[in-house]
Amino acid sequence: MSEFILEAKGLVKRFGRVVALDSADFELKAGEILAVIGDNGAGKSTLIKSLSGAMIPDEGEVLLNGERVMFSSPMAARAAGIETVYQNLALSPALSIADNMFMGREIRKQGFMGRVFRTLDKKTMDKLARDKLSELGLMTIQNIRQPVETLSGGQRQGVAVARAAAFGSRVVILDEPTAALGVKESRKVLDLILGLRERGLPVVLISHNMPHVFEVADRIHIHRLGRRAALINPGDYSMSDAVAIMTGAMTAHAVAA
């Protein structure tokens, strides 16, 4: 129906006197990696939270495959196949890796115990979690039941990304997944993103790292002062141009689509 998998029109979000989103638009095509860049405080996180049900915009609409949707919670968005890795990770430190991977979509035992006593099927969940992690080749976790707080920053980031990659069936959104990561750890995450595209999954990547963005993105959404200032093709613009648009020094000649 629509050429866009995920689309937003005229999103507005205010926090008291601050207008974080000021009639923002957004479009994501099937199978592409769309980067979102912008200054600190430009409203990038607010934008993707509005897309993923983590926040409800004051105004505007969100469309999935051309149909209006209104996600009232991250659960609802996930049920629709949209997986998000938030800037602050959203892992529960005291719970295990497996618990975290299946948080909010736990698998119950089959048969009587599961139906009546709602018993969780821990074995299956552990197995699936282990499979997903090694399938993505992201790391070698010895003990899938160890608490997330015992992992290093890089490993945690890995779990969060793996969770999104494992369950995302339509869209995967990543908000600054490499901000605190080292060179090696960042590389792994970028490879993972490229791997997702290969599997045909569209990815939204928020990042302040221009080389990363220009390396992987198919298109770049430039956010400024709460709205989309431009939507560009990395092939048509230099990094320098992108930064200039981001800071308002330049306006894009033509905004794609």
Binding site: S73, P74, L91, A94, G104, R105, T119
Partner: protein, 357 residues
């Protein structure tokens, strides 16, 4: 600059080889002490269990048969039944990083409702008991909505509710005590939990059995259902849980409502224990339930601990109480000891966490 097939950052060539080690781990040379520490760390309810065993053994040695008899040991169970039930409710709330200062008041109000609905309005006791549970759930619901939806701090919400519920209790009951004899004659169901099974000297009241079943069920639910995992996740980091897809508000409200229901159960057990329905009962239940929870190793910062720990905590207090009373010490020494125990238990817990990380 344009998009390239591979890395734009030339320096990443350096990544091609290299091991994956990050931090080093010291070689594993576990002494026995270390192994114990590790076991305690992995399963925190073992600490109170350990203290419990130690104190039972200690008093057993000092007091011999007087303490170590089936009668005395089951007496401890009877004495902690109410606190144990309430501590289960308290644990649920504390697991969500909350605290419930209104548990004692809800318990008493529920018991008064069960009694007064039977005797003042002539309801059949079954119905009156249901009404008591409804009142407990309602109080919990108010707490839950104020905490989850209005987003007020649980300490303050339940401090306020404590005063409100306790005052309502006195106003509604008109300070009337319903006498045990009358209950026995007209509505023995209210005293259900006071009945007991006897095996030799051992006396197990239905109240004790109720406590044990409650703890078992809650342990199961917390560990083996999605709801249980969500309770831990909400206490661990509510924002993270929300973003991960947990319905945080719903989980919080359900915890407070369940806490209210369990308090109502405690109210029913209370009638069984003291025989009568008395609006002045349970003045120390709040503090005792928190004491049990704290000694039971449940973190006040949420997300860590188990119902079983709270049960052990309550039992420890019960053991010390009875033991010291049988030794004939001034009761004030018991309170002093409990104070020391609270601090010592938490210090031990802290120490174990520190050493075994």
């Amino acid at each position: 600059m344009s998009k390239t097939e591979s890395s734009t950052q030339g320096y990443e060539g350096g990544l091609s080889a290299g091991s994956a080690d990050v931090a080093q781990f010291a070689p594993e040379r576990r002494t026995i002490v270390k192994s114990i520490q590790h076991a305690l760390h992995v399963n925190p309810a073992l600490i109170p269990l350990f203290i419990l065993s130690l104190s039972v053994a200690g008093f057993g040695i000092i007091l011999g048969d007087r303490f170590f008899s089936p009668f005395s040991l089951t007496l401890i169970l009877q004495q902690v039944a109410i606190v144990g039930v309430v501590a289960a409710a308290q644990t649920l709330v504390i697991l969500t990083k909350g605290i419930d200062l209104s548990v004692g008041a809800i318990m008493v109000l529920s018991s008064v409702v069960m009694g007064q609905f039977t005797f003042r309005y002539g309801f059949p006791p079954e119905l009156a008991i249901l009404c008591g549970f409804a009142v407990g759930a309602l109080c919990g619901l108010i707490n839950g909505v104020l905490v989850a939806v209005v987003k007020l701090p649980p300490f303050i919400v339940t401090l306020g509710m404590w005063q409100i519920v306790l005052a309502s209790n006195f106003l509604y009951s008109r300070n009337e005590t319903i006498r045990s004899q009358d209950i026995q004659a007209d509505a023995p169901l209210l005293q259900f939990f006071g009945q007991s099974l006897r095996f030799g000297g051992a006396v197990l009241t239905f109240g004790v059995i109720a406590m044990v079943i409650l703890v078992a069920v809650l342990t199961y639910v917390l560990n083996n259902t999605a709801w249980g995992r969500h309770v831990y996740a909400v206490g661990d980091d509510a924002d993270a849980a929300q973003l991960a897809g947990v319905r945080v508000k719903r989980t919080l409200i359900s915890v407070y409502v369940l806490s209210g229901l369990i308090c109502a159960l405690a109210g029913w057990v209370l009638i069984g224990r003291i025989g009568s329905v008395s609006p002045t009962a349970g003045q120390f239940t709040n503090i005792e339930s928190i004491t049990a929870v704290v000694i039971g190793g449940i973190s006040l910062f949420g997300g860590r601990g188990s119902i079983l720990g709270a049960l052990f905590g309550a039992l420890i207090v019960g053991v010390f109480g009875l033991g010291l009373r049988l030794m004939g010490t001034d009761p004030q020494w018991t309170y002093l000891m409990i104070g020391v125990l609270i601090i010592a238990a938490v210090a031990l817990d802290q120490w174990i966490r520190r050493v075994s990380t």
